[in-house]
């Protein structure tokens, strides 16, 4: 059962475009959306949320088109976004009462429970919250209307590691019931190294890959060795390279098909998502990335 399907989605601006985006999330799984600043993560999320109009393609949430059935779709999505659309002149409790009424499954008691769990005082004015508290508030609000899909746009940006850990804990709790799916965009990829089931990586408005994290970790490896062994990588399919007078480091594809002799004397390292991003985004590490494809 697919919770979110993005098919051939395009959004054209004068100087930037999302090109032919395709990916989907199954019910009960976490999809991490990664890419550097300006890669198109937020544009993609805003298009999914129908906050900005798409140029072409379609977005299907739990079987419903996000434009044709906008109200129904928005009812199913809980979000934590960068710009907060909440009422800053009133209390958290009132924010829930006033804005929650737009949702068919709004539950004020659940909302208060989450506020308490996140140690937020319901009587506090929204404007008085710190950045981390605002994120928690948004999450409490999102969860109080029992969403099927959670859309989180950089929820952990600018927050300390303790809060980030707590946030990940909460998400882990949520997906245990197998009914909710999460789309989690971030450039702090260590948050996703652990919990994400799938990763969609975009750069310059295009998908570089969208795959399960297990497959990604099987496929990509970093090979590192002294420069005297550099000739050994000539047979490998590498997508990123960093090289100086002493050693070289390359991100290689199809690492699982290499034989032991191919890698004799070289170090094979399982890359973190961050490493993959660095190798594949940066066009000019130490003066020379080449692509043998």
């Amino acid at each position: 059962m697919k919770m979110l399907e993005v098919n051939n989605l395009c959004k054209k601006y004068k100087k930037f475009a999302l090109k032919d985006i395709n990916f989907s999330i199954e019910e009960g799984y976490v999809m991490g959306l990664i890419g550097k600043n300006g890669a198109g993560k937020t544009t993609l999320i805003k298009t999914i949320m129908n906050q900005i109009l798409k140029t072409s393609g379609e977005v299907i949430v739990n079987g419903w088109d996000n434009v044709t059935y906008e109200k129904k779709v928005k009812d199913m999505i809980g979000f934590v976004l960068v710009d907060f659309p909440y009422l800053s002149g009133t209390t958290l409790l009132n924010n829930g009462l006033l804005l929650g009424s737009y949702y068919s499954e709004w539950n004020q008691e659940v909302f208060i429970e989450y506020l308490q769990r996140f140690k937020l005082n319901p009587e506090k004015n929204y404007a008085e919250l710190s950045k981390g508290m605002k994120t928690k508030f948004q999450l409490a609000f999102a969860l109080a209307h029992n969403p099927k899909l959670l859309v989180l746009d950089e929820p952990t940006a600018g927050l300390d590691p303790i809060f980030r850990r707590e946030f990940i804990d909460i998400l882990c709790d949520l997906i245990r019931d197998e009914k909710k799916s999460i789309l989690f965009s971030t450039h702090i990829t260590s948050d996703l190294d652990k919990i994400a089931d799938y990763i969609t990586f975009i750069d310059k408005g295009e998908i570089i890959f969208s795959d399960s994290k297990e497959n990604i970790q099987d496929k990509y490896h970093i090979v590192k060795g002294p420069i005297s062994s550099f000739h050994q990588i000539s047979n490998m399919n590498y997508v990123g390279l960093k090289k100086n007078e002493t050693y070289f480091e390359a991100l290689i594809l199809d690492a699982n098909t290499l034989k032991e002799d191919d890698i004799l004397g070289l170090n094979m390292i399982i890359p973190k998502l961050e490493d993959i991003m660095l190798f594949m985004c940066n066009d000019n590490i130490n003066g020379g990335v080449s692509n043998n494809a």
Binding site: D197, S212, E214
Partner: protein, 126 residues
């Protein structure tokens, strides 16, 4: 069931899970027909992806270490201890080949290497 994940290890997480569960089954710490935590429970406890835990369980099932009952979960299979021991020995062999490679690199003779092994084997620290 004990599982400890080392995050900056070069052993993939699913393999770490497999190895630790296997060891506990071989050592008899996990009994035949006892139930394993659900995939989602384990993923939550370890704060890892559901797919990673799923992969580990599926691999263990393929190897016959555990079996699944639809809608109920995973259980420890009745093990053939001899086969398990044999597999362990295969792993040791593989580790030894790595050591031999290192010895050759360092120019260590067989006799010297065996001496070293004997001393270490009898040592109290290992």
């Amino acid at each position: 069931m004990d599982v400890v994940i080392i995050n900056n290890s070069q052993v993939p997480i699913y393999e770490q899970i497999i190895n630790q569960i296997k060891l506990q089954i071989i050592e008899g710490k996990m009994h035949v027909n006892s139930q394993l935590p659900s995939i989602r429970q384990l993923a939550k406890d370890l704060q890892i992806s559901v797919i990673t835990t799923k992969r580990a369980y599926e691999e263990l099932e393929r190897e016959g270490m555990i079996y699944s009952m639809i809608g109920k979960g995973f259980y420890v299979s009745d093990q053939n201890v001899e086969i398990l021991k044999e597999r362990q020995i295969q792993l040791i062999e593989k580790a030894m080949i790595d050591i031999i490679r290192e010895c050759k690199k360092a120019g260590l003779t067989v006799d010297k290497a065996v001496d070293m092994l004997e001393i270490l084997y009898e040592g109290e620290n290992v």
